[in-house]
Structures are given as C-alpha cells and as structure tokens.
C-alpha cells in the first residue's frame, strides 16, 4: 500500500472542477483509493463524496492507494495534488 500525505494550499480547498478531473484520472487505475481527512474518509473515485469531505486550505489529507498498479496511481495522484491544490 502507498500512502500520500498532503497539505492543501489552494485557498478554495479541494474544489469542484479540478477534483472532477482527479476523479476521472483515478478511474483509469485499478487500485482502491481512500482519502482521509481526520477520521473521515471516502473513495477518491466519487466526486460528491470527495467534495463532501470539505477539504479546506491548510487541511492535511492522507491518501491510501492499494492494488496492483498502486505505484503509478499514487505517483499520478501526488503530482496532481501538488499542481492543483
């Protein structure tokens, strides 16, 4: 399992459109992807659930990736988070 820790710097937090693109990109992988904010979590493939986590600026999130393509998947997610949030 791969784990990514990330602190959100975007003033809008994890917001609709870039989150939607991330969800779309994540669907190309087989791995199970879980996003944690504190003790709340959701499947990263689900846009409204992800938005519902209400991740704001300066929030820390942890993304867990597990599956046969976890390395590539985690790499994509980490890059995307850094560039967009």
């Amino acid at each position: 399992m791969k784990e990514i820790k990330f602190k959100v710097t975007d003033p809008l937090g994890i917001h609709a459109r870039p989150a939607g693109i991330l969800v779309k990109d994540a669907k190309k992988f087989n791995s199970k992807i879980t996003v944690w904010k504190g003790d709340k979590s959701c499947d990263l493939r689900k846009l409204l659930a992800l938005m519902g986590l209400s991740v704001r600026q300066n929030d820390e999130i942890v993304v867990q990736v597990e599956g046969d393509d976890e390395a590539a998947c985690a790499e994509m997610i980490e890059k995307y988070l850094k560039e967009n949030f």
Binding site: T9, G13, R17, I21, K46, A49, M51, S54, K82, E83
Partner: protein, 550 residues
C-alpha cells in the same frame, strides 16, 4: 413611483417592463410505480441528455462569457456523472418503486441539503449547483421548456437569483436588464452583464413579485430601479438612454478604423490584459493587439509554481486568438505587493524598492527560464513581444537576453518551433529614463509604465491617502521623463509605447501624440473612446512638445 436600491454592475440604463423570472419549483408527488425498470430507463435517458446539455451550455457560455467562466458546466457534467448520486437515485426507483421524477427530486435535494449544511462557504454554494443540475434532469423528465419562463417580449428580468444554467439559457436579444435579489459581483449574472454590456442590479433586497408586468427604469449609474416611474423621470431617463445608445453606435462605427489624426499621425491603441479570460473584451473593443499582458495571473492564481505546460497553454491561447496582432507579454512582475507563498520571499523593509520582478528572475534563473521557454514556444503561434519589467541597468537587459538565448537554443535542440518575436523593456524607473540611450541599443521597443514611474520619480505611494495633496498625475517630471524616453528610443530607431494608467487619460492624448509616442496600451473599454479622440485631433501646425510647456 417606487425606488429600490441594489448594487450596480455597469453604468448603463435599462427601460422596459418587468418580468418576474421564477425557476420552476417542481411539485413532484410521492408516486409508487408498477414498473420500476421502465422508470430506471427513463432516468438513464434523461441523465444522458442532461449530461449532453452541459456540453452545449459549456460551448454557449464560452462564446458569451469566455472559457474560464464556462468551466462551471464542466463541473456540472462531472457531478451528474457521480456514481453515488446516480446510485442513490436508482435505489429510490428500484427499492422504493418510486417514479423517476420523485427519485431525482429526493436524491438531488438530499445532496443539495448536505452541501448547504457544510461549514465551508465554497461548498455551501455548491448546493445551488446540485439544484441546478437536478432541475435540468427534471425539465427533461417532465418535458418542460425552461426557456419559456422568459417570455417572448423584451423585458427587464427580475429574479431571486439566477443559476449559471439559467443565465446561459436566457435569450440575450430580449434582455433589457437583469435585477436579482442575491448574487455577487463575481456571479455568472454579473460576468454576463459585463461582457454583454447589459445593465444589471444585484443584491436588490426589495425585489417583489408584484412588480411583474410594471414599467421600470434600471438606473445603473445610481444603482437603483424605479418602478412605475413618474412621467418626467421617464422622459429624462429616455433621453439619457438614447444618448448612451448613440454613443455605443458611434463607437461601433470606429471598429476596423485606425487611430489616425486628421493630419495623418498614426498611434497604435492596444489593450492591457490580465489573462486569457480578458480576450473577449479585447475583441469586443477592437483593440489593436495587446500592449501589456500581465503574466502574473498564472502565478497568483496557482498554489504551486505553474508548470511550463500550463503557462504555454495560456500564452498560446492569447497569441493564437489575436494573431496577427502583436501581443506584448511582460515577464512576471512578482514581489512588492504581489507575493506568492511558494516563492518563499522574505519580508522586506521596503518592498517597492526591494526584491521584485526582473531582480527575482535574474536571481532564480531556473524559475525565469520556465516562463521564457513557455513564451518562446507560444511565439510560434502568432506575433509576440517579450518585455522585461523593473529594469534599471544595461547589464540586466544583457543578462536577461542571454538567458532568453539559452532557452532558444535548448528549445531548438528539443525540436520546438519558435516564431519571430520582439524584445523590449518596461521603462518605469528614473534610472531607466536616464540611461534610455544605452538601453535602446539592446532592445526593439520601450513601454513606459507610468504608475511605477510616477511612484519612483515623485517618491509617492499612491495607496497612501495622506499623500493625495502631494500627488500630481501630470507632474512635469513624469511628462518630461516620458519625452526623454521617447526621444532616446527614436534616436535608436525603436518604437516607444505607454502602458500605464496615464495612457488612457484623454487629457494627455494630444500631448502624447505631439511627443511622438507610437503606442498606447489601455484598459479595453478605453480603446474606442481614445480612437475617436485621436481621429478628431488635427495637429498640423502644432509644434513638437517641449519640456518648457510644463
């Protein structure tokens, strides 16, 4: 007569009958169905259609208000594609044997409610999006036509609030104005009003259903609406309205013309822009290219340093859209009042005199090269100028050009195409004015940044209210500095423009022409009025401007 106040978006007037626009509130009965499978099929068909409509709305919005503002419909499509939302809806149909309408209403409302209860104001606002897309699906299921609510007569539309979909769907040819009870200056309604020159009043709390069908004047100058206006007022506002229209027409007649005086002196009038989202206004106002593209927007709107690809995409869009007109791109002018976290700049005692603009770029070469590479790649798609800000010494220009040359070599080796481009500098420090002859030997053009030039020449911080008495926008020192710069440029055969606020000051247009200024770059809305002014001037026999005049 009744008067209601609101926040005006544009200095325009709208006169006509009011039409109250009410979004359909669907009264969906809690109906149990015999054939859930058939309902599931209806839902799937309506969902697919709604998803398809988002693409159409996206294209329509893109044409009306620009790509950046159309992106909401991409987000809408993504929400409609959400598995959970679809799953909940299907479950209500399948398990509870409810109609597709009831299931959609229940599921989408539940999600809207969920977002409305989140603490984050951004997420709360997404509640409107869910209602918006839910209504789109319901419109399709119930076969209702959302366009019919607007009616077929020209009107001033009054609504509590307009969702992005509603705003885009409106038939703009029938709109005399828009009034909403809610809304913000950055709402879709406001953006639309600005890009279509439509009078609009937002946050008008007194909006009332009883206004429907009554005569009204939307007075954008005073931020209010008059219901059942007195005949005298109506008369005088009609006159004002006609004058505004006539002014519009006169300005439109100037489209495609050049800024040439009666005696044949030509001056280029270009626009200042802050990003691709301003392209619409450049085209609408028929500007002769862009004299200042502030490239900071990418840096300020991004939480990490923008990549070369992100920059290239944005620059290319502007250059390609406006080709063959010239686009002058200023390399990033960060520092001082424009800071970003990821640059990790230290706090400074005197930021205006500190580590900013070209000084950052020459110190952090890798950072600088990323932007130059993106600009060079975009140059292949049109006509471009690359301009360095905050120059005080010749060596800075030489060094910046050397880095530019390095980037060119790298890109060529990598097989990228590079177009022809000009290289120039901002003249915005007194030092640059004094050594303008030296600097002119290094570049193809000068663009005078009058805001900073005034600040540095007169030692005046224009944000400081206490200095109002000491601030003279037409200070002789600044005007003489402009003349010195123009003369130095012309001695070396390069063109000289003005891209600061003074460029748009009509009181100085004649002066600039007589100084020999080649180009003015101004906010897009000033392009046509300035063009008209230039075309009305006759300078035959007028002496060349001399410093003794001020």
């Amino acid at each position: 007569m009744k008067i209601a106040a609101g926040k005006s978006i544009l200095d325009r007037i709208g006169i006509g009958k009011i039409r109250i626009y009410k979004a359909p509130s669907y009264e969906i009965s809690d109906r149990t169905v015999k054939d859930p499978e058939a309902e599931l099929k209806r839902f799937d068909a309506a969902l697919q259609k709604a998803i398809g409509q988002q693409d159409i709305l996206y294209e329509k919005a893109k044409a009306e208000v620009g790509e950046e503002n159309a992106e909401i419909f991409e987000a809408h499509r993504m929400m409609l594609e959400d598995e959970d939302l679809q799953g909940v809806t299907r479950e209500i149909i399948r398990e509870k044997k409810k109609s597709a309408e009831f299931a959609v209403k229940t599921a989408f409302d539940t999600y809207a409610q969920f977002f409305a209860e989140l603490e984050d104001p951004y997420m709360q606002a997404r509640s409107v999006d869910l209602i918006d897309i839910g209504n789109t699906v319901l419109d399709i299921l119930t076969g209702s036509d959302p366009g019919s609510i607007q009616g077929t007569e020209p009107c001033i539309l009054v609504a509590d609030d307009l969702t992005p979909s509603e705003t885009v769907r409106l038939d703009k040819s029938l709109l005399l104005g828009i009034i909403t009870r809610e809304g913000s200056a950055n709402s879709h309604t406001a953006i639309l009003a600005r890009s279509m020159n439509l009078p609009a009043l937002i946050q008008c709390r007194d909006v009332d259903d009883s206004w429907d069908g009554r005569m009204a004047i939307l007075d954008g100058y005073n931020g209010c609406v008059y219901i059942d206006p007195d005949p005298d007022l109506l008369e005088s506002m009609k006159k004002k309205y006609d004058a505004v229209l006539k002014e519009d027409e006169l300005l439109q007649e100037l489209r495609g013309r050049t800024g040439t005086t009666i005696d044949g002196r030509r001056i280029i009038i270009a626009a200042n822009i802050g990003g691709p989202s301003d392209l619409g206004s450049v085209l609408a106002n028929d500007a002769e290219g862009v004299g200042l593209f502030r490239s900071e927007f990418l840096y300020l709107n991004s939480k990490g340093e923008p990549t070369e690809e992100q920059q290239f995409a944005a620059y290319r869009r502007v250059v390609e859209t406006l080709a063959p007109a010239l686009v002058i791109m200023r390399t990033c002018d960060l520092g001082a009042d424009k800071t970003v976290d990821y640059l990790n700049l230290e706090e400074e005692e005197n930021p205006a005199l500190g580590f900013r603009a070209i000084r950052i770029c020459l110190t952090r070469k890798d950072f600088f090269k990323k932007q130059l590479r993106a600009m060079l790649r975009a140059s292949a798609y049109g006509s471009m100028g690359i301009m360095f800000p905050m120059i005080t010494s010749r060596w800075e220009v030489i060094e910046a050009k050397k880095i530019l040359e390095e980037c060119k070599e790298e890109l060529r080796r990598e097989g990228h195409r590079i177009g022809n481009f000009q290289t120039g500098i901002m003249v915005e420090t007194p030092a640059a004015v004094f050594v303008a002859d030296d600097l002119a030997e290094e570049v193809d053009f000068f663009s005078i940044g009058t805001n900073d030039l005034l600040q540095y020449t007169c030692a005046i911080d224009r944000q400081n209210e206490k200095l109002e008495r000491f601030t003279d926008m037409h200070h002789p020192a600044v005007l003489r500095a402009i003349k010195m710069t123009v003369d130095a440029g012309h001695r070396h055969g390069i063109w000289v423009g003005i891209c600061g606020e003074l460029g748009a000051d009509p009181a100085l247009t004649e002066t600039f022409l007589r100084m020999g200024v080649d180009e003015l770059s101004v906010n897009a809305g000033s392009v046509l009025p300035l063009r008209r002014l230039v075309r009305s001037l006759d300078l035959s026999g007028a002496p060349e401007w001399s410093p003794e005049e001020v």
